[in-house]
């Protein structure tokens, strides 16, 4: 069977103009007239990543801040295009990368559900069919018709998670989302993720929480400086990563 997600020689570079950031057309034109051009330095956010994720598998992605974990997830979601190589994703993607995108505080919870859903690429028909389920999962009751500005932070987080995860998907992209809400809601989120797993949904899970990676995932990929250090059995990779972190002090 074909893997659900394949990364082939994926590289992603950012160009950064050295010296002052060129924010004005005037400064840019002056530089060019002087014949200096613009000097760029490149940053490798991802470098030559080769990785396959099988269908139904849960892959944890670990590494330090800036190691390229979230960038890799964005490439898998088709949000960022790689500079080299390619990623092939087979199945419907549910990105849970950043919650509450485009939430508008003047609009009601219900209006935000539809707007957020549209941004996530869902049709309005699909959203209408799922809206009751979303409201009940978010535990918002009658608040759903109130403007979002009247919500507490926890309520906003619950609504955002509910919209993002109440979906028929084959591949779930999860980025550090378990830090939202209170303990009770965290459990509910974890249950929902286990649910996805039981249904055979492929999961890519970026986290700093090594325990949940070890317990939730089959395999883990360890990234450092945009490169894949090691991929393999989740417990083993987490173990090795921990050792290396301790060695670094």
């Amino acid at each position: 069977m074909e893997p659900a997600v394949t990364f082939e020689d994926v590289g992603l570079t950012y160009r950064i103009s050295s010296g002052a950031r060129l924010v004005s057309l005037k400064a840019w034109a002056i530089q060019h007239l002087r014949g200096q051009g613009v000097k760029w330095s490149t940053v490798h956010a991802l470098d030559d990543v080769n990785l396959e994720v099988d269908r139904g598998e849960a892959l944890g992605i670990i590494g330090h801040n800036g190691a390229g974990k979230s960038t890799l997830l964005r490439v898998a979601g088709g949000i960022l295009a790689p500079s080299r190589g390619r990623a092939v994703i087979r199945g419907r993607i549910a990105p849970v990368i950043e919650l509450g995108i485009g939430f508008e505080y003047e609009l009601t919870g219900l209006e935000n559900i539809f707007f957020n859903g549209a941004l996530l690429g869902r049709s309005s028909r699909e959203m209408r069919a799922r809206v009751d389920e979303i409201v009940s999962f978010a535990e918002l009751g009658d608040y759903i018709d109130q403007p979002l500005r009247t919500y507490s932070t926890g309520m906003v987080a619950r609504l955002a998670f509910a919209v993002a995860t109440t979906v028929d998907a084959d591949i779930l992209l999860l980025d550090e989302v378990l830090s939202v809400g209170d303990e009770q809601f965290k459990h509910k989120c974890l249950d929902r993720i286990r649910d996805f797993r039981q249904r055979g949904v492929t999961i890519l899970f970026v986290s700093h929480d090594l325990d949940s990676v070890a317990s939730l995932c089959d395999r883990a990929a360890w990234l450092a400086g945009g490169r894949l250090v090691k991929a393999g059995d989740a417990a083993e990779v987490v173990q090795e990563y921990t050792v290396s972190m301790e060695a670094r002090g």
Binding site: L25, A81, P82, A87, I89, G91, E106, L107, A118, S124
Partner: protein
Amino acid sequence: MAGAAYPVLENSAPRGIDPFGELRDLLRSGDLLRSLVWRDLTVRYKRSVIGFFWTMLNPLLLMIIFTIIFSAVFRFAGVQHYEIYFLSEYLVFNFFMQTTTQSMASLQWNGMMMKRVRVPKTIFSLSTAGSGLVNLLLSYVPLFVLMLLRGVPIRATVLFLPVAFLIIAMFTVGVSWVLSALAVFFDDVVHMWGVAVFGIMYMTPVIYPIEIIPQRWLWIIRVNPLTHLFKLARDPVYGGSLPAPHIFWSSLAVGLVTMVVGWLLYQRMARHFHHYL
């Protein structure tokens, strides 16, 4: 095996621009476009107490100011019902001005979204133009009421207006794509355009009649494609006439070419957005 049913997304390094891929994505995003327009309108009107009424009041107030200035202070000889003359073209010019300006702000704001969700990058200028069009339609209500009050006949030629709007919207969206992409790279484009758009307004007979232009400068106004483009909206309302065929076809060509060129330039620049946003 149900494997064959999975949609396949191939995300690879862009080799040049892919206008057809973008077009395909855009055509699939009808629901998103509608949502963005709806969000624009609802958020704007929820903030003000008088809501949608504001759109109609705004041109009305402007009209009062301009009518006072141009019929009491500076007078244009030979312009009957100056307020109708002015509004019938100013409304579409205002649409052009607002849409181009807002699309820059909209892209800088929505740029954050582009980093977080997978959306066709050309959609934001379209949604800005979409909500601008709704506002434009609303602002024709007070214009028609005014025409009735002043006894200016509303002729069947107004049925041409939707076609005029479409051509003007194509031109506007094309310009918006170029400007908004440039504004991602250079902050000062916003300020430069703010000045330029006023220059454009005075190079186009929007607030004054073309007759006041001295003979030796008249060619500038004549070769300015915007003169004819915006006049598409004035003639059916103010003069009760339809554009001459050569004016119509050349304006349509200007609209189409601007839109296609803007579309291609935007996608070329959009490849570098992730370095900036």
